[in-house]
């Protein structure tokens, strides 16, 4: 159970996230939607402590996260894996090494600096790659892979961390529909089968509606909607996104990746 209580973040005068309180149960797939600049990214980065909150509390199974430092903070970061819009792989290193990067916290500093990982860790990495249909890319440079492949490698890296929570920041925004579907399917499978909560930022309402168990909408840093996807009617969506313009997503109830 992840609990956010009155979580806020200010950048000077600008309020990016304002008093967000949420409870996320185990295994839930939670979609966070909103226009760009609504505070979605800042919210996720605060949970991982890449961004320091200005106020409020983050608790995971009762443990206070906002005050963690040093090794304890690194342990928390290993437990809540992050997936980025631009994949953030190391382009010059091979795919297998990129996946093994998920083990950095668990390896001793010296061994990891020499690039030493246990045979069992390599075996786990290869198993993950195989499960995501990427086994034959294991020895290729990550930078030579397609965007969709890179994002799935990033998911394997996240799973190598043996996470208890996954934070995905616009994971499919840079991908074509086919690859977006593969990535979203993988995230949903992780939440269903492994019982890991997945918090996923999305700007595409259709994807959020068809994949998430619950949707939270942010506007100007505040929660303006929190409920089941079905409760997010067209009129509610219009309220959240404001007047229709180029930034508001098309509202359709059909499957987002339906082949016409």
């Amino acid at each position: 159970m992840l609990e956010l209580e009155g979580l806020s973040c200010r950048f000077g005068e600008t309020v990016a996230v304002a008093e967000v309180s949420l409870r996320v149960p185990e295994g839930q797939m939670l979609g966070i939607i909103g226009r760009s600049g609504a505070g979605k990214t800042t919210l996720l980065r605060m949970i991982n402590r890449l961004q320091e909150p200005s106020a409020g509390a983050i608790r995971f199974h009762g443990q206070e996260i906002t005050r963690l430092r040093g090794k304890a903070l690194r342990r928390w970061r290993a437990q809540c894996a992050m997936i980025f819009q631009h994949f953030n792989l190391i382009p010059r290193l091979d795919v297998l090494t990129n996946v093994l990067m998920g083990r950095l916290f668990y390896r001793s500093e010296m061994a990891s600096l020499l690039g030493l990982f246990a045979a069992s860790e390599r075996a786990l990495a290869l198993e993950l790659l195989e499960r995501h249909g990427l086994l034959e890319t294991a020895l290729k440079r990550a930078g030579t892979l397609s965007g969709g492949q890179q994002q799935r490698v990033a998911i394997c890296r996240a799973l190598m961390q043996e996470p208890r929570l996954i934070l995905a920041d616009e994971p499919v925004a840079s991908l074509d529909p086919r690859n977006a579907q593969l990535v979203m399917d993988a995230l949903r499978r992780i939440s269903r089968e492994d019982g890991i909560s997945v918090l996923v930022n999305l700007h595409d309402l259709r994807i959020a509606r068809s994949y998430c168990d619950r949707i939270v909408a942010l506007s100007a840093g505040r929660v303006v909607f929190d409920g089941a996807p079905d409760a997010l009617t067209e009129s509610r969506a219009r309220e959240i996104y404001g007047a229709p313009d180029e930034e508001s997503p098309a509202f359709e109830t059909s499957h987002p990746f339906a082949v016409v």
Binding site: N48, R74, N88, L89, I90, T97, M101, L104, F105, Q161
Partner: protein, 287 residues
Amino acid sequence: MASPEEIETAWRARRRARLFWFAFGTVAFFAAFAISAQVAELSPAALIAGAPRMGAYFGQLIPDLRWPVLFAGAETPGSLAYWFYRLDIWLRLLLETSQMAALATLLGAGLALPLSFFASANLVSPRLAFTTRRLFDCLRSIPDIVYALVLVWAFGVGPLAGILAIMLHTLGALGKLLADVVENADLRAREALIAAGGSWLQATRFAVLPQVLPNFLSYALLRFEINVRGATVIGVVGAGGIGQELYAVISFNYYQEISAIVVLIILTVSVIDLASEWLRSRAMSLQ
């Protein structure tokens, strides 16, 4: 809302400003040139007066070579072997000079690589980056020959002083270049490793080092080329190698030996430059 006319006016104003600064810069450049020429006593008259003397000196450097005996033994005047009669010693000294440069580059680059991460404001606190960069500035602003003069006094005449002198200057010069490379590195992968629970050291090692390594190799090789030439000059102050020999023959006005040694130095430097250029292009293609 701005109208097209207003934007056109603003655009014209901007172009006038650019033209003004270009004219101002041109005038300032030539003024600065004239002033420094005055200070440095760079005048056409001095050049014309000195040129014949320079020609006379170079004339004496031309070896006395004769066709019929060109490939005769070292005892025959007019032969190549006579000109290069101390070839074995000179080659050994050239090797010493190259080794001084290689060792100094290795040591300097080896220290510059780890230190450059502490001079990059995107990886460490701005204060530490500032301090490390000023350290590089200090090391770099003193020419290696000045270090050599001091170090010869401390460690005695010989290559050790030369190696340390070149190493210090290399550390300062390479450290700055590498820190600039590190500051331009893409830090997205590094953030991902921090987000995965990696330490500062781990994230830097895996997400930054592979990016900067090709550039690092290229700069280190370029520095090696510079250091081979530097090691030659540095020998003049008693820091070993071919420079020390060159200084001796210049002082004694052994004209033919001067030209023989200069030819050998040019050949050595060219070969090393060509080899390192080839290696450098290979290193950059890794990127």
